[in-house]
């Protein structure tokens, strides 16, 4: 019989992969990898703000993730290179967040749990939050799917069909902020991007269509969660990094299979 904490961890992880599969595919297609990474790193500042104000951590990370996204869009519209703004914001916010958390150390915070996640310590409430967040993101993606896909393929093609590519990008940014907010407790700010990117990249090697790739990415993510938790349980390794490491292993496998085929 599995211990209850493991069931909670498994359910939370599987719930998360519902959203990270299709969203990760979009992150890959639109070359938003660095953007996702930067937003996740910056969310540490959100953790600090939440702890300082006594608000829920999820709310803090969601707010900061959205602010970073909007700021990047604004600055790049003013002529700053996107990777410059992302680099400054991501590491600036991460550093400020780390400093800020040291001031609220009195509340007994394990910084590590926000950097690397603590999936084995999730509560039932957090499991419900993860499923709620993931389901909303999945619903949003399914609702906007055709338009988002057209805008991703070619912005002009989308415009000619009456689809506003900027609006679709905004929806994706919102979805990314929600996923980061619910995922930070599970895999941590440093490894969220791994869970978005690596399964999607693995699925790319095995897919011939966008829907297939999105679904496969969720499947690969789920497999990584289960295998990572098993590894963590048997070898007493940290759970979040174990999940990311196994995802990377699956990618290597898929990439080598593809080279042969």
């Amino acid at each position: 019989m599995l211990p209850e904490f493991l069931i909670r961890a498994g359910l939370a992880g599987l719930g998360l992969t519902l959203a990270t599969g299709p969203l990760g595919a979009f992150v890959l297609w639109r070359r938003m990898a660095y953007f996702g990474d930067a937003t996740a790193h910056a969310s540490i500042l959100g953790v600090a703000l939440a702890l300082a104000t006594g608000l829920p951590v999820g709310l803090g990370t969601l707010t900061v993730a959205l602010s970073v996204a909007v700021t990047v869009a604004t600055l790049s519209a003013r002529g700053w290179a996107v990777d410059t703004t992302l680099g400054v914001l991501a590491h600036g916010a991460l550093a400020v967040g780390l400093v800020a958390i040291s001031f609220v150390k009195g509340v007994n915070v394990s910084l590590e749990s926000y950097l690397f996640g603590d999936i084995l310590a999730v509560t039932w409430t957090e499991v419900a939050l993860v499923w709620g967040g993931s389901a909303s993101v999945l619903a949003l993606l399914l609702w906007r799917w055709q338009g988002m896909l057209t805008a991703t393929l070619d912005p002009d093609l989308a415009r000619a069909s009456g689809i506003d590519p900027d609006r679709e990008r905004l929806w994706l940014t919102l979805a990314l902020a929600v996923v980061i907010a619910v995922a930070i407790k599970l895999v941590g700010a440093l490894l969220i991007a791994a869970l978005l990117l690596i399964p999607a990249a693995t699925a790319r090697a095995l897919s011939r269509g966008p829907e297939q790739m999105a679904a496969l990415a969720s499947g690969v993510g789920a497999l990584s969660v289960i295998a990572g938790l098993a590894l963590s349980l048997n070898q007493d390794t940290p759970a979040g990094p174990s999940i990311a490491a196994l995802a990377a292993g699956l990618f290597a496998l898929a990439a080598s299979l593809r080279r042969q085929g």
């Binding site: 890959l28 297609w29 639109r30 070359r31 055709q146 338009g147 896909l149 057209t150 991703t152 393929l153 070619d154 912005p155 002009d156 093609l157 989308a158 415009r159 000619a160 069909s161 689809i163 990249a201 790319r204 897919s207 011939r208 269509g209 966008p210 297939q212 790739m213």
Partner: protein
């Protein structure tokens, strides 16, 4: 009978990108069943005109669409990212899902029967153009808009693609608006040609336009080749800049264009005058013997190998 009300018209269209005025005072109209080609050198605002007409970018002036106008758009190329796997069949269902039978039918129409399961990334430039045309046709367009549709094709591929466009026009009665910087094939494939260099320099039937000094100035044509037929009467009056000083008046290319097409707008004529001296200066600078230009173009096209399928 053809309906002579324009499907799409623009009056005094202006587009400014940053500090640069890319388009100035453009009057334009296209009617049912017409094939109109916008010609101009690189950077002359051709694609910008197309995008402004389709409402993709903000523009000053007036653009009037016929009510409920259905437009089919074929971009110059797809910004295909290798990370996005996409079959021909799936592409046809973006953004509006279509039935398999419809997809098969339209693929057959463009000469791509049975190519549905192929990946877009594995298609040649010509095949990709046909697939994009097929996708545009699915919306039963009244107006097809193609942005440099043959820029990635070799000359036989180009000719075949223009033939396909002419067939589609004949079958569906759709108007066709194309952008091109290619002089020769376009001349044969169009009912009307519009020369653009930030403003409309001249317009009319291909024969009339190819005779217009503005057109020859724009493309730096010499005295050889088919165009020589039309040249003699203009060479005398327009070869030298002094003519402009002496007469201060021109009614050559414009006059013909208006008579032939019955074009109702006059704004662009004035612009032609304003920029005339400039056009002639250009002409003298860029004049190149036509044979040499042809050879050069072919050499570039074949060497670039754009028809080679992109292995995935």
């Amino acid at each position: 009978m053809l309906d002579r009300t324009p499907l799409l018209q623009a009056h005094d269209l202006r587009v400014t990108l940053g500090a640069t005025e890319v388009l100035t005072g453009v009057d334009f109209a296209i009617r049912q069943g017409e094939i109109v080609t916008v010609l101009g050198p690189n950077g002359s605002g051709k694609s910008t005109l197309m995008r402004a007409l389709l409402g993709m970018i903000p523009a000053g002036g007036q653009v009037v669409r016929a009510p409920g106008l259905r437009v089919g758009y074929v971009p110059q190329k797809l910004a295909l990212d290798r990370s996005l796997p996409m079959t021909v069949r799936r592409f046809l269902s973006l953004p509006v899902r279509v039935k398999d039978a419809e997809a098969a039918q339209v693929l057959e129409r463009v000469g791509m029967a049975g190519m549905g399961p192929r990946l877009l990334s594995g298609l040649s430039g010509g095949q990709l153009q046909r697939v994009m045309l097929a996708r545009a046709l699915l919306g039963r367009p009244q107006l097809l808009v193609l942005d440099e549709p043959t820029s990635g094709l070799d000359q036989p591929g180009e000719a075949a693609f223009y033939r396909l466009i002419a067939e589609v026009r004949a079958e569906t009665g759709a108007a066709v608006l194309m952008v091109s910087h290619d002089l020769h094939v376009v001349m044969a494939a169009s009912d009307r040609v519009v020369c653009l260099n930030h403003h409309i320099c001249c317009e009319g039937t291909p024969r009339v336009v190819s005779a217009a000094p503005e057109y020859r100035a724009l493309f730096g044509l010499g005295t050889q080749g088919a165009l020589a037929l039309y040249q003699h009467r203009h060479d005398h009056s327009h070869d030298g800049v002094h003519d402009h000083g002496a007469h201060g008046h021109h009614d050559h290319g414009h006059g013909h264009a208006v008579e032939v097409t019955g074009h109702s707008g006059h704004g662009h004529h004035d612009h032609g005058h304003d920029h005339h001296g400039h056009d002639h200066e250009r002409r003298h600078r860029v004049e190149v013997p036509r044979q040499a230009r042809d050879g050069g173009e072919l050499g570039v096209k074949f060497a670039s190998g754009k028809e080679t399928p992109d292995a995935s």
